[in-house]
C-alpha cells in the first residue's frame, strides 16, 4: 500500500536520561513529507536534528510517538529492515574495503546476484562521476570523492528515503557549494525523498523544498525557504534565517492582518502581522510589537535630503562591491543593519553622518514580543 506521504512523524518525542532527571532532546515533532520532497532540518547545535534523523533511520527508538514510512508504521522496526539510506557526516566508508566493495556491500547483504551487483555498482559510480575508482581504497580518495562514494553506496540500494546528517560539513567551502547543487540535482533526478540535516542556513535555503526549523527539541516553523524568510512566525526563526533587525514599537492600531505602530520620530508604520491567520489575536493596541526588518528593506539617505524617516547616525559603512552594509544607531540607542545596493556614482554615507532610514513596510512583518 502506498501512501500519499513518504514519511510521517506523529508526536515523536525522544527523552534521554540525564543525571537525575530527563532531557527532552526531541519534543512532540509532527511532520509530513511528500514523495520526492527534499526536507531540510535546520537549527542551532544541540536542538535535536540529528536525534530526529536517527529515529527516522532506526538508530534510536522514540520514547513516544510514531514514525510511518510509505504509510507503514516503522517505529520499532530495526534499521536494516527499513529500506532507508543514511549518509554520515564523516562518510563512514569501510576502511578495509575497496570502493567497489563499499558500494556493493548492501546489495550483497541483500543477496543479489554477482552480475546484477556489478551492473548496479558501475551505474551508481558513474552517476557520482567515479567510474574508474572501483579498486581504490577510501584512504586513497579526497574528501569530496569519499563523499561521492558514500552517496553511491546509498543510492545503489534505491532506498525509499534518503537521510543525510550534515554530509557537507567536512568539505572545504568551495567544494561544499559545488556538492550542494550536485546532491540537489541527483535527488531531483532520482526523484528520491530526502531528509537533510544542516546547521548552515544558506545550505538549507538553497537546497530545500521545505525547511523545518528546530529549536530546543521543538519544531519552530515548517515552510518553503520563501515563507521562512519573508514570513517568519517567531523571533527565533526571523533571527536564525538570514539577517534581521528586530525593532520594538508600540502598537497603535490593529486590523485583521495588519498592525500599525508608532515611529519614534512621529508618524506610523503599517505592516502584516506574521502570526495572523485572518484575525490578529496576539497583538492588541498598546502592546509592544517587534518589527522584523531585513537589512535590504532599509533605505539609507542623508538626513538633510530626506523629508521623513527615522533619524539615525552611521556607526560603520562597509563597501562590499554590489552593496553597502551600514550599521546605524537610532535615537533610543538600538542598532539597525541596512544593506543598500550600490550603483555607480552613488554617495556613501560615511561614519558619523546623520541619516534618515526609510523602511519598506511591505517587506516587513510584525511579531509579538515574547
Amino acid at each position: 500500500m502506498s501512501s500519499e506521504f513518504a514519511l510521517e512523524l506523529s508526536d515523536v518525542t525522544k527523552i534521554f536520561a540525564k543525571d537525575r532527571g530527563e532531557f527532552r532532546a526531541v519534543d512532540n515533532v509532527n511532520l509530513q513529507v511528500r514523495q520526492g520532497e527534499m526536507v531540510v532540518f535546520l537549527g542551532p547545535s544541540g536542538c535535536g536534528k540529528t536525534t530526529t534523523l536517527r529515529m527516522v533511520a532506526g538508530f534510536e527508538t522514540p520514547s513516544s510517538g510514531a514514525i510511518r514510512i510509505q504509510g507503514k508504521d516503522m517505529t520499532t522496526v530495526p534499521v536494516n529492515k527499513r529500506g532507508i539510506g543514511f549518509v554520515f557526516q564523516n562518510y563512514a566508508l569501510f576502511p578495509h574495503m575497496s570502493v567497489f566493495k563499499n558500494v556493493s556491500y548492501g546489495l550483497k547483504a541483500r543477496g543479489e546476484g554477482v552480475e546484477a551487483i556489478r551492473n548496479k555498482v558501475s551505474a551508481a559510480l558513474e552517476l557520482v562521476g567515479l567510474s574508474g575508482s572501483g579498486d581504490k581504497f577510501p584512504n586513497q580518495l579526497s574528501g569530496g570523492e569519499q563523499q561521492r562514494v558514500a552517496l553511491a553506496r546509498v543510492i545503489v540500494m534505491e532506498p525509499s528515503l534518503l537521510l543525510m546528517d550534515e554530509p557537507l560539513s567536512n568539505l572545504d567551502a568551495k567544494l561544499r557549494l559545488h556538492m550542494r547543487t550536485e546532491i540537489r540535482k541527483l535527488q531531483k533526478h532520482l526523484g528520491i525523498t530526502c531528509m537533510y540535516v544542516t546547521h548552515d542556513q544558506a545550505e538549507a535555503l538553497t537546497m530545500a523544498d521545505r525547511i523545518v526549523v528546530m529549536n530546543r527539541g521543538k519544531v519552530e516553523q515548517v515552510g518553503t525557504p520563501f515563507d521562512l524568510y519573508n514570513a517568519p512566525r517567531s523571533l527565533f526563526v526571523a533571527d536564525f534565517i538570514g539577517q534581521a533587525n528586530i525593532v520594538k514599537l508600540p502598537v497603535v492600531a490593529v486590523d485583521d492582518v495588519n498592525v500599525t505602530a508608532a515611529i519614534p520620530e512621529g508618524g506610523t508604520l503599517t505592516a502584516r502581522c506574521a502570526v495572523s491567520d485572518g484575525e490578529c489575536t496576539p497583538l492588541r493596541k498598546g502592546d509592544v510589537a517587534a518589527l522584523i526588518v531585513r537589512p535590504e528593506s532599509v533605505g539609507v539617505e542623508f538626513a538633510d535630503r530626506a523629508e521623513k524617516g527615522i533619524r539615525a547616525v552611521v556607526i560603520s559603512a562597509i563597501f562590499g562591491g554590489s552593496d553597502v552594509e551600514y550599521q546605524v544607531r537610532l535615537a533610543d540607542g538600538s542598532m539597525v543593519k541596512a544593506s543598500v545596493p550600490y550603483r555607480n556614482g552613488m554617495d556613501i554615507c560615511r561614519e558619523g553622518s546623520r541619516v534618515s532610514l526609510v523602511i519598506e513596510a511591505a517587506n516587513c512583518v510584525f511579531l509579538p514580543v515574547t
Binding site: A57, G58, F59, T61, T76, P78, V79, N80, K81, G83, I84, G85, F86, F88, Q89, N90, A92, L93, F94, P95, H96, Y105, G106, A109, R110, F137, P138, N139, G143, Q146, R153, V154, M157, N170
Partner: protein, 569 residues
C-alpha cells in the same frame, strides 16, 4: 512503581524485537556467567556463612580465633602494600629510563626485554632462582661464604614478588609518560624552571593517575599471589592464599578455606573498585597533547639520571642472573652438591612430564580460543550496545578476574564437586577457570579498540540492510582484529603459566606444567623444577612469537588503512 516495571518489561520486549541476535547472545552469556561466575562465588559465601542451614559468623569466627590466620591476614596486607610500593617505584624508574633518558636504542630494548621476561614466565620463576641463589646451599651464599642466612620469610617473598610484578607498573607508567606532551617540558623550561623543578612539578604530578593505577594493580597481584609465598614464605611468614591452600589440600577443610577466601576477597574487591575509580576519571594528560609538533622530552636532572642508571643496571643484571641460574640449574646433577653436566632432567621432563606438557598445551589452546571469542563478544556488547543491566553485566564479566585466583579456585571446587554440576577432575573446569579469569585482557583490548572506531561504520552497515551478525563479522571483526590478537596473546600466556586458581582443580586426568614445577619444588628437586620451567618458558616464548607475527600481519593489513583514514579527517 508499576509504571517503572511496565517500562522495563517494554524495554526488554523492544530489545528482543529490535535486535534478536543481541538478545540471544545476552541470554547465553548470562547463563554462562550464572554458572561459572556467580554460582561459585555464591557457593563460596554460603560455605563461609551458613552453618547447619542458618546464617552464621561461626566459621569466620573460628578462623579468626587462630592467631596464625590473623598473622596471615596481616602478612597479606603488609606484603601487598610493600610490593605495591616497591614495584611501582621500580616500574617508574624503568619507565623513566626508557622514556626520558638518552640511553641508546639497544639499551632501551634490553630494559624492555627485562620487563617482558617476568610477564611470560610462570609466576614462581624468580622464587625458584632466588632459592637456587640464596636458599639452602645457595650459590651466592657459598660464593660469599655467608652462613646463617635464610631467604625464607617476608624479605625473600617481598624481593621475589617485586621482581615478578614491577613489569606491570612499568607498562602502565611507561604508557602515561609517553602520552605526556613534550611541549609541556619546553614550556616549563622556557619559564625558567630547572630540570629538577620540571620533574617535581610537571612530570610527577601528571603521572599520578598512572602511579595510583599501577600501585593498585601491583597490590592486587601481590595480594593474590600464591606461588611465591608458598615457596619462599616459609613458616614464619604466612599469607592468606597459601593458608587457604594448605587448609584445603592438607586438612580438607572447605569451610575454613572458604572463610579465609572471604577475608582475601574483601580487600581484592576494594582494590578492584578503586582501580575502576582511578581509571574512570579521565586522565587529564591526553587533553594536552594536541597541538604543535612532537618535540623531544627534555630529559632528567643529571643526579636523577645517574641514580636511574645504577638501579636499572643492578636490577637488569640481577634478573638476567636469575634466569641464567635456572638454565644452569636445569643442567646439573644435584644443585650445588654435584655440579656435573647432565641432560637427565630434560629426559625426565619429556618422559614423565609429557602428559603435563600435552595437557597444558591442550587446555591453553582450548581456553585461548574460547576465551578470545567470549572476550570479543563481551567487549563488543559492553562497548557498543545498551541493554538493561549493563553495569552489572560489566561488573560480573570481570569478577573472576578481580578476585584472587585462590578464591576462584576454592569457589570452583565448592561449586562443582557434586551433581548436577560435577565437573571436578574434568578439563571443562580447568578451561572455565582460565577462560572466565583471563579473557579480561581480551575484553579490555577489544573495548579499547572499539572506542577508537567510529560507531557510524557499524551504523552504515546496518542502514545498508546488513543484520547485526553480518555487521559484526564483516565490519567490526576485521577492524578490531589487531586488538583481538593482542588480547589472545596474553590469554595464551596466562593459560600456560597461571597456577593460583587451577592448583585446586588439577587431577590425575588433567595436570599442568605449573603444578609439576611446584611439586618438584616441594620435593626439593630444584634441577627438575628448573628444567620444567625452562621448557615452559620456551613453549610460551614460541607461542608468543607466533602470536606476535600474526598481530604484525593483521595490523599491516587492516590497521594501516584505519590509521590513514583517521589521519585523513
Amino acid at each position: 512503581m508499576a509504571e517503572g516495571y511496565r517500562g522495563m518489561k517494554k524495554q526488554r520486549f523492544v530489545l528482543l524485537k529490535k535486535d534478536p541476535a543481541l538478545f540471544s547472545t545476552l541470554v547465553i552469556i548470562w547463563v554462562l556467567f550464572g554458572i561459572f561466575i556467580f554460582l561459585p562465588v555464591f557457593r563460596l559465601l554460603l560455605a563461609a556463612f551458613v552453618v547447619d542451614g542458618k546464617p552464621s559468623f561461626a566459621n569466620l569466627a573460628a578462623v579468626m580465633k587462630t592467631s596464625y590466620n590473623i598473622r596471615a591476614l596481616y602478612g597479606s596486607l603488609l606484603l601487598a602494600t610493600t610490593v605495591g610500593i616497591s614495584g611501582t617505584v621500580l616500574g617508574y624508574i624503568f619507565a623513566l629510563a626508557v622514556t626520558r633518558t638518552t640511553l641508546p636504542r639497544w639499551g632501551k630494548n634490553i630494559l624492555s626485554a627485562i620487563t617482558i621476561l617476568p610477564l611470560i614466565s610462570p609466576p614462581f620463576t624468580s622464587s625458584i632462582s632466588l632459592t637456587l641463589a640464596l636458599g639452602p646451599n645457595g650459590m651466592l651464599l657459598q660464593l660469599f661464604g655467608i652462613e646463617n642466612f635464610t631467604i625464607y620469610g617476608f624479605w625473600g617473598t617481598w624481593l621475589s614478588e617485586t621482581l615478578t610484578y614491577f613489569p606491570i607498573a612499568f607498562m602502565v607508567i611507561e604508557a602515561i609518560l609517553n602520552t605526556m606532551s613534550a611541549n609541556l617540558d619546553d614550556a616549563a623550561l622556557s619559564l625558567g624552571s630547572t630540570k629538577w623543578r620540571l620533574f617535581r612539578t610537571v612530570t610527577v604530578p601528571l603521572s599520578l593517575p598512572g602511579i595510583a593505577n599501577s600501585f593498585l594493580l601491583v597490590f592486587g597481584a601481590s595480594l593474590a599471589d600464591f606461588a611465591t609465598p608458598l615457596i619462599l614464605g616459609g613458616h614464619s611468614f604466612p599469607v592468606l592464599p597459601t593458608e587457604a591452600y594448605l587448609l584445603i589440600t592438607g586438612l580438607f577443610d572447605l569451610k575454613g578455606g572458604a572463610s579465609l577466601s572471604f577475608l582475601l576477597l574483601v580487600p581484592a574487591l576494594i582494590v578492584f573498585l578503586m582501580q575502576r575509580l582511578v581509571l574512570g576519571r579521565k586522565s587529564f594528560v591526553s587533553v594536552t597533547g594536541k597541538s604543535g609538533a612532537r618535540t623531544v622530552f627534555s630529559g632528567l636532572p643529571v643526579s636523577l639520571s645517574v641514580i636511574i642508571g645504577i638501579v636499572c643496571t643492578i636490577v637488569s643484571a640481577f634478573v638476567i642472573y636469575l634466569y641464567a641460574i635456572i638454565l644452569w640449574g636445569s643442567f646439573v646433577k644435584v644443585w650445588s652438591v654435584n655440579n656435573t653436566f647432565t641432560w637427565e632432567h630434560y629426559a625426565y621432563v619429556f618422559q614423565h612430564g609429557k602428559k603435563a606438557i600435552l595437557d597444558t598445551l591442550a587446555i591453553a589452546l582450548v581456553s585461548t580460543v574460547l576465551g578470545s571469542i567470549l572476550g570479543i563478544v563481551i567487549g563488543y556488547v559492553t562497548q557498543r550496545k545498551t541493554f538493561p543491566g549493563k553495569r552489572f553485566f560489566e561488573f560480573g564479566s570481570l569478577l573472576n578476574y578481580a578476585l584472587p585466583g585462590t578464591v576462584v579456585g576454592i569457589a570452583y571446587i565448592i561449586a562443582f564437586n557434586q551433581r548436577p554440576l560435577l565437573l571436578t577432575g574434568t578439563m571443562t573446569i580447568l578451561v572455565a577457570a582460565y577462560v572466565f579469569r583471563y579473557y579480561a585482557t581480551g575484553i579490555r583490548a577489544v573495548s579499547a579498540s572499539l572506542e577508537q572506531i567510529d560507531p557510524a561504520l557499524e551504523e552504515a552497515s546496518l542502514s545498508l540492510g546488513a543484520g547485526s551478525v553480518r555487521t559484526f563479522t564483516h565490519v567490526t571483526i576485521p577492524l578490531i582484529m589487531p586488538a583481538v590478537l593482542s588480547g589472545t596473546r596474553y590469554l595464551f600466556i596466562h593459560c600456560m603459566t597461571a597456577i593460583s586458581a587451577t592448583i585446586f582443580l588439577v587431577s590425575v586426568h588433567w595436570t599442568l606444567l605449573t603444578t609439576r614445577i611446584l611439586e618438584s619444588m616441594t620435593e626439593l628437586q630444584f634441577s627438575q623444577a628448573s628444567a620444567f620451567s625452562i621448557v615452559l618458558i620456551l613453549i610460551v616464548f614460541a607461542g608468543d612469537a607466533i602470536m606476535r607475527g600474526l598481530i604484525k600481519l593483521s595490523s599491516m593489513k587492516f590497521h594501516q588503512s584505519v590509521r590513514e583514514v583517521a589521519h585523513h579527517e
